[in-house]
Assembly symmetry: C2
Homo-oligomer: 403 residues x 2
């Protein structure tokens, strides 16, 4: 049962996602993608908010990890990566139309695949669809946002009890719905991240260096690498906020120049499994060794599914004063956790983080993109210029540049 307070939260979050996040325009086709049936209350609220914003049509698609489990457990091999042609046709239509997209995370069943062979779990991904959607992403075809639906199951995974109100309280704070004027608060927040972006772009680092807590990682940057904050732009300049919450500034690294070892600082849900104690070793840009206390096979399965999956696609800086960080929670959800700590992603880059917004040599292209949290109070982050000047960026998870 949804309480009246929760119904109000749903409506306010949905309106924020539609108006400020995806920035739905009158007459637009709107796609709502719910990761779980449990996300239905927010998916429905988004549909209502999108029609209120003038959407031409709202399509809601529910994913069901239990059906996926049946596929992985019992389906033929060829089915694992098959894309039903109508889903491809749908993706192309959304791309051609420049549709608005609201993706909803928040899954109480995220560990439902935990006992299945990691190799099959890793391979179970619609390959053609992933390529098509990477292509849409690279061409900035859509105004989109990712939000997270508090559910009792998700609350249970975090707190050990299905305390939905407590999870709502945390999420409302993360997405600034606890502010008297959330839209104004978001504008201030996005402005602040924009100032970080400007500072980083001005410093033109050759590489970043992460050290401490078992991590000693150098991430090379490209001459074309540009930083991005909360604000994204569709191909035609239409602004949207791609993640709500978001606390990161991020860029596209030189995929050929990652070296060293990095430890994940948070458990990582991948393809329905929880990867714990992940350690990745890079040489000449490539992940050459994967170790973990649990779930290493899922990561290895993902990396094996595409030859470019083992290269870095994104590096993101997040300080510990972020709204998400301040909750003190590990959400076991990528959207939230990646906004509490610095992270990297293996797989595809965002071409939006490249000057010219097009793929260049050294920027990675893949149909995988998995975020791994690597930051925390123990991990110092420096920027290093081509001349060897070292500029501290994060110490004790505190932002070091003026802003």
């Amino acid at each position: 049962m949804t309480t009246p307070e929760q119904a109000e939260h749903l409506q306010r979050y949905a309106e924020l996602a539609v108006q400020l996040g995806a920035n739905v325009q009158p007459g637009q086709l709107v796609e709502v993608s719910a990761r779980s049936l449990d996300n239905a209350p927010l998916a429905r609220a988004v549909a209502r908010a999108a029609y209120a914003a003038g959407a031409r049509y709202v399509d809601v698609r529910y994913h069901d990890v239990h059906v996926r489990r049946a596929l992985i457990e019992r389906g033929p091999d060829a089915a694992l990566s098959w894309t039903p042609p109508w889903l491809l046709s749908r993706e192309r239509k959304l791309s051609a139309e420049g549709a608005a997209i609201v993706a909803i995370n928040g899954d109480g069943d995220a560990d439902i695949l935990a006992d299945l062979p990691g190799e099959r779990v890793g391979r179970a991904r619609m390959r053609e669809l992933a390529e098509e959607s990477r292509d849409s992403m690279n061409r900035q075809r859509n105004n989109w946002t990712v939000i997270a639906c508090p559910t009792a199951g998700w609350a249970n995974r975090i707190f050990g009890e299905p305390d939905l109100d407590r999870l709502w309280e945390a999420i409302l704070s993360c997405v600034r719905l606890d502010e008297p004027d959330p839209v104004a608060a978001w504008q201030r927040h996005a402005d602040r991240l924009d100032r970080r972006v400007e500072a980083l772009d001005a410093l033109r680092f050759d590489r970043l260096h992460f050290s401490g807590g078992g991590t000693d990682l150098t991430v090379g940057l490209l001459p074309e690498s540009r930083w991005l904050g909360a604000r994204s732009k569709r191909f035609d300049g239409l602004e949207h906020i791609a993640n709500m919450p978001t606390e990161e500034v991020f860029t596209t690294p030189d995929a050929r120049r990652t070296e060293g070892v990095v430890r994940a600082t948070r458990p990582l849900p991948v393809a329905g499994r929880l990867v714990e104690g992940l350690e990745l070793r890079f040489a000449a840009g490539r992940i050459v060794d994967v170790q973990a206390d649990a779930g290493a096979d899922v990561v290895r399965g993902q990396l094996a599914s595409d030859e470019r999956a083992s290269y870095l696609g994104e590096i993101a800086l997040v300080d510990g004063t972020s709204r998400v960080g301040r909750t003190g929670l590990t959400f076991l959800d990528g959207l939230l956790d990646e906004n509490a700590a610095c992270h990297l992603a293996y797989g595809a880059c965002y071409t939006e983080c490249l000057e010219g917004r097009e793929l260049v040599e050294g920027a990675n292209d893949s149909f995988v993109h998995t975020d791994v949290m690597i930051g925390g109070p123990d991990v110092a982050v420096d920027g290093v210029t081509a001349e060897g000047t070292v500029v501290p960026l994060l110490r004790d998870a505190v932002w070091q540049l003026p802003e």
Copy 2:
């Protein structure tokens, strides 16, 4: 929470639907269409059973009446009947492949649209998709079955309390899963309906006459009208059982020759609304007057949505000794209730009930097909030959022909 007993019921019903109902063949593409998110437990069980039967891929699509409500309430006019092109592409693929289809009924939210304008509710139907799927149906492209998922919400609508176990008990009996050997029981049952079919085909009635309880209706038949029982055939002869439960024998009437007045003997869920006390008046085959205690506007909206919707497409005979009838329940669900009582459907005919299995003059074509229960102990049914010989078919809801 699903109890272990309910989990076993789900598995057995799913296996029956896959193996005997849709008769899924190894290598087949299987489409599962769930009318509500609440049907997820059975949809997942069907997915597992279908893969176990050798399905090449199982696609599960969840409908959400709350999203539909948002569309009807807030969407632009043109959106009401729009078909997203990818759904059309999906339907065409399923048709071209001769896919297996399992449709799942059973909706606790069936009255969620009750307070919306009936005219918009009636018009809210994907028109192109309905035409495409009628075309698939007319060409018998798929091996399919319709089943019903017991849910707490549905139980609540029937019993006034969410007694899911009680609803399961009723459904298990209706679909013969209370028998020691359900498959053998289904074969005996289908054989019995086949004997009724043979008897009716042999008598070659010119028309049927329904009288009593406010009904006085004559339904003309075509020279090509053929009766069907539980067993249907795909275009290539592959047998399937299209409804589980099914208790009816049915045929395609002469759409030009329905005359008189008929009263619905059960409340009728149409497009998310409950129509009560429906009375239809026919003249020269056409519904010329719609009256009801509640919901007449939804029926009128449906009839107005297509010029052939007002003509008869199906007439079905069900006796009161049916498994469904014997539960003594009104299920408020078409699949169940139509198998407790004789019914008619306005809208599209089944070409499978025509000699030659193709549309002929006088057989109705529409993209609407709505079943209305018109039988009961008070309604006598006679067959009348071209020569005027009157043969009693049902008295006090008891079958009158030898079988």
